[in-house]
């Protein structure tokens, strides 16, 4: 796969995308060669390779041109020529920050969490997982996307099963089978899409996303079925309401690093999939089914919030809060407005900063106290004030307090929702209040009051832990006050997507796409920084 790139190394400028996938894989091989008892060198190697890959994502972000249309850093090589499968990579404003997020979270998870046993396979699996996650966000070929989408299951399965908590095997198996169930439909959908596209457009069979999406040659009725086959896979991955039951188990039983990656990166595979392989590939069908997804999205917001309120386990509470937060992303996506989708992408990034930070802190509590039961914890604020302070900041960001990063995304999705899907947005707004309810209530029970005996000497935040959380906290404040750098790169891609949708989905009203450029991003900046 890399060979054709090396051959042209002199003529083509350096393209970081293939190396983002290759670097962690090379790291995993290096780790396989290190003796198992040298835990420190194992960790260092894992950190170095994940940091190189993460550095490449930052390089991509810097080199990314906000003004340019379409996909950038494109690699278009052949993979399986006789089957029409290409090695087609590229990045646009929608995937750019998800890529950067992946590049930041993995090194942090490697530094911040100690697996306690079997370091060698642990780091190897994490690096394989990183390669897979990177691949998903940059694949522009249906089969290549599926390969990465599906391959991430394996390392995550082993991470949950090998390093998780008491009920880990059940959670890992459930996670694997649920996701594979969704992917089963998607694989049939992918093949059907390619076959029907070939029969409609002629020529050789191709799985190229851009080609199939641009041609839009599949009959409307068939495209609706195909969209649903993709949507089931993404709905499991997001997860949407009736298919979400794997999430609380997987998140709760996973080791802390697993939860960080699950919440930070892997949940985004579903919402990203909806944008790229739903709206872009099947614009008409996604607008046709929009009411269905708006409904399950809003149900998810309320249901996730109510379930979170009821939880006795702190980690499970955070897990359910994800169900609610991702509902907002779905609301924004299926509102079919520029603000909504833009807010959805922003919310993906922000949820990927906030929730992993929460999981890290819950992991620290569990490490110190060997329990995550809310009733067992109390008065931690007295014994560890700095710890409590950092927790407060992250929690407030999760609630969506203006001035912190949770706000602009949530606000834009609701704004887009009001324009595109008014009544759903009205109901969803209730979820904002519920988020405050469950998080503040949990905070009160865990941190306020007098510490009981075992909580009295709860250790304070250590320097290393602080250093892991510091970048996330900086991003929480930074992106809350000034989200413009993100929005101005996301917006052109969303505009382009909406123009594409407008051309092919007669139902969708795309008047606001033609609105003066930057209008929506400026509005968001005002609202973000004005509080």
């Amino acid at each position: 796969m890399i060979a054709p790139l090396l051959a042209n190394a002199e003529s083509v400028p350096f393209n970081p995308l293939p190396w983002m996938i290759a670097t962690p894989l090379i790291g995993a091989i290096v780790i396989a060669l290190i003796p198992r008892h040298r835990t420190d060198s194992l960790r260092q190697v894992a950190l170095v390779f994940s940091a190189i890959s993460g550095g490449l994502t930052l390089y991509t972000m810097v080199e990314f041109s906000a003004a340019e249309k379409g996909f950038q850093f494109v690699v278009n090589a052949k993979w399986v020529e006789s089957l029409g499968i290409g090695f087609h990579l590229g990045v646009d404003g929608i995937s750019l920050f998800l890529l950067v997020l992946t590049g930041i979270l993995f090194p942090l998870a490697i530094v911040g969490v100690d697996p306690h046993h079997d370091h060698k396979p642990y780091y190897a699996w994490l690096l394989v997982l990183m390669a897979g996650c990177m691949g998903v966000f940059i694949s522009l070929d249906l089969v290549l996307f599926f390969v990465f989408f599906e391959i991430v299951l394996v390392p995550m399965y082993f991470l949950i099963g090998g390093w998780g908590y008491a009920n880990r095997v059940y959670a890992a198996t459930k996670f694997f089978l649920y996701t594979m169930f969704g992917s089963a439909f998607m694989l049939v959908g992918i093949l059907a899409t390619a076959v029907l596209h070939q029969q409609a457009s002629g020529g050789n069979i191709t799985f190229d996303l851009v080609k199939i999406a641009t041609d839009q040659s599949i009959a409307t009725e068939a495209a609706r079925w195909l969209f649903m086959s993709f949507a089931i896979a993404f709905a499991v991955k997001v997860p949407l309401f009736p298919l979400h039951t794997w999430l609380p188990d997987a998140h709760t039983e996973a080791p802390t690093a697993g939860s960080v990656i699950l919440a930070g990166v892997m949940l985004k595979l579903g919402t990203y999939g909806f944008l790229r392989f739903g709206l872009y590939l099947f614009p008409e069908a996604s607008s046709y089914f929009a009411p269905v997804f708006l409904t399950v999205g809003v149900v998810g917001i309320l249901y996730g919030a109510i379930c979170a309120t009821m939880q006795k386990d702190l980690k499970r509470l955070v897990a359910y809060s994800s169900v609610a937060h991702l509902g907002f992303i779905i609301l924004g996506t299926f509102s079919f407005t520029v603000q909504g989708i833009q807010g959805g992408v922003l919310q993906m990034v922000n949820h990927g900063i906030t929730t992993p930070a929460l999981f890290l802190m819950v992991g620290m509590i569990a490490d110190r106290r060997h329990t995550r039961e809310i009733s067992e914890l109390s008065g931690l604020q007295k014994s560890a004030p700095i710890f409590a302070g950092v927790f407060t900041l992250i929690m407030l960001s999760s609630i969506g307090l203006p001035g912190l990063n949770g706000f602009p995304g949530e606000f834009l999705t609701l704004l887009g929702g009001f324009k595109g899907a008014r009544w759903w947005a009205v109901i969803a707004a209730v979820g904002v209040i519920l988020a405050a309810l469950y998080l503040l209530w949990a905070y009160q029970r865990v941190f306020h009051g007098e510490p009981t005996e075992p909580n009295r000497d709860f250790p304070e935040l250590r320097l290393r832990e602080g250093l892991v959380l510091a970048p996330l906290c900086l991003l929480i404040v930074g992106l809350g006050v000034y989200p413009k750098p993100l929005l101005e790169r996301i917006e052109p891609a969303v505009q382009e997507l909406m123009v594409h949708v407008g051309q092919h989905a007669p139902k969708v009203d795309v008047r606001d796409v033609e609105a003066p450029k930057r209008a929506s991003s400026e509005r968001a900046v005002e609202s973000g920084s004005g509080k």
């Binding site: 399965y157 908590y165 169930f181 049939v188």
Partner: protein, 523 residues
């Protein structure tokens, strides 16, 4: 006066020996081995038998390469030879190639196994070579009678191999069951051939093809009955539900390397015959036989996956999973000529995956070959991490995880189903793969996550020993599975070119510009 007329000579066909070299190498190789060991006194060096078998099978494998170039050459082209009884085309060469790879890997597994069990001897290897030769005959048979002969050589050797472990009762029982049920299946097939002969007046696939293309049968009951009986016979051989009942018992009881042989070589030969007879001989009747294959596929997919879930014996699980895989390959067959390349790719991929899985199982079985329950796998990841990782890899490959051969195998047959617009079948197949994944994960859980986090389970019983020959076999299977998953292009291209070559017509008809009744595409 009539008596006085001189008896006319029975016409004997020209035998193009050079085109039969692979089958001949396998068969003569087996017979020569049998002769030498009965003449020579004393025991040869350890591993000699296996080495000889590997050399013979490799020679047969290599001999397919020049033949392959001859087939691709339009002047010699694909044709049927030896009085139109043998098909000389890419399809048969590819099937023989896969069979040879299966023999090489199984012989390597058998070496360590037989020495460990103290029953080392030439018999198993001789039978393996003869059985493979039968499989080669079957894959290239262009006449139903030749097909039947190939099938019998293949099967009878396999019956004996199954009961090879004379000290294990279960091995004897398995051999008996396999023999009785297999004989039934052969009878069904033979009866079907008789019906076909009655309906079309020939047992030659080329003649049958031509007859069916030129004549419209007003009453085709006899033909349909013949096809149905043949479907039953082939269904038995490839272990497709509802004719799979023998498989779990026989796979469990047979010596594990023989189980690997049955799941790979016997299945490849069975499917090669199945595909050739149905898509070439009866290609014009696809609308009549497709529903039957469809039903067989659905049943195999569901029975294979659901049946496996309740098992606790790993060999039984793999047996049920092989029924599930048969369902997937039938997905390729039901698509007619469109699906043959997918089915052949699947067979190649499955050969590597299943021999790898049974290879690990044969090692974990340890002395006596009895430790095959899920509990016996507990703690394997700690005492034998590489072996556990290999097993996990083979199992995930069978589940169809990307970047393994299993993914592109499933991809190919689902594509065939999609091209014939059989969406329901494609969805059923993929859902059955999810159910099967549960069973593969159960084995993985047992190997990796047995016991509690504080006290991981340890391997019970004697340590698992890995002889060098078996590790070579497992590594080759691993590399094959990985290569077909990461760079499938050469294999996919090979399967495509090979199956495009399938023919039932003798060379002279082809070249004289007679209508080409090559593979008939589905609607």
């Amino acid at each position: 006066m009539m008596l006085a007329s001189a008896p006319t000579a029975i016409p004997t066909p020209d035998v193009v020996w050079s085109a039969l070299v692979p089958q001949l190498i396998l068969m003569i190789g087996g017979v020569v081995m049998l002769t030498i060991v009965s003449v020579i006194k004393g025991r040869p060096i350890k591993g000699m038998y296996a080495l000889y078998t590997v050399v013979v099978a490799s020679a047969a494998l290599l001999s397919t390469i020049p033949l392959w170039h001859r087939v691709l050459n339009p002047a010699e082209g694909p044709s049927s030879l030896v009085g139109a009884a043998v098909g000389f085309d890419g399809f048969s060469l590819l099937a023989i190639g896969i069979i040879c790879v299966g023999v090489i890997l199984c012989a390597l597994l058998a070496d360590g196994y037989l020495q460990r069990e103290g029953i080392d001897g030439p018999e198993l290897y001789v039978l393996m070579l003869l059985s493979a030769a039968g499989g080669g005959v079957m894959a290239s048979a262009n006449d139903l009678i030749v097909l039947f002969i190939g099938l019998e050589i293949l099967s009878i050797s396999a019956y004996v191999m199954t009961s090879m472990h004379a000290r294990r009762l279960s091995s004897q029982e398995a051999g008996m069951k396999y023999f009785v049920l297999g004989a039934f299946a052969s009878a069904f097939l033979l009866y079907g051939i008789a019906m076909i002969y009655g309906a079309t007046g020939s047992t030659n696939l080329g003649d049958i093809q031509q007859f069916l293309a030129e004549n419209i049968l007003l009453k085709n009951g006899l033909l349909i009955l013949g096809l149905a009986l043949m479907t039953v016979g082939f269904g038995f051989k490839v272990a497709a539900a509802p004719f799979h009942q023998w498989a779990p018992d026989v796979y469990q009881g047979a010596p594990t390397p023989v189980s690997a042989f049955m799941a790979s070589v016997v299945k490849v030969a069975g499917f090669a015959g199945f595909i050739r007879v149905f898509t070439v001989g009866f290609g014009t009747y696809i609308l009549q036989w497709r529903p039957a294959i469809f039903a067989l596929a659905v049943l195999s997919l569901l029975v294979g996956s659901i049946g496996a879930v309740v098992q606790t014996n790993v060999k039984r699980m793999l047996a049920y999973s092989s029924v599930n895989h048969a369902g997937f390959i039938l997905l390729g067959l039901q698509a007619g000529a469109l699906g043959t390349s997918g089915a052949m790719f699947y067979l190649g991929a499955y050969t590597f995956m299943v021999i790898g899985s049974f290879g690990v199982a044969s090692l974990v079985g340890r002395v006596g070959d009895g430790r095959q329950s899920l509990d016996d796998y507990q703690g394997l990841s700690r005492s034998r991490p590489a072996l556990a990782l290999a097993m996990a890899f083979f199992l995930l490959a069978q589940a169809g995880t990307p970047l393994t051969a299993g993914f592109f195998a499933k991809f190919g047959v689902i594509k065939a189903a999609a091209e014939t617009h059989n969406w329901s079948l494609a969805v059923i197949a993929m859902l059955s793969a999810v159910i099967s994944a549960f069973l593969y994960l159960r084995i993985v859980v047992s190997m990796y996550f047995g016991g509690s986090a504080e006290e991981p389970a340890t391997l019970s019983g004697p340590p698992v020993r890995v002889p060098a020959s078996a590790s070579i076999a497992i590594i080759v299977a691993l590399v094959g599975t990985l290569a077909m998953g990461i760079v499938p292009e050469p294999f996919s291209k090979l399967a495509r070119e090979a199956t495009a070559q399938i023919t039932a017509q003798p060379a002279d008809t082809l070249r004289s510009g007679a209508p080409d009744f090559g593979p008939v595409a589905g609607p």
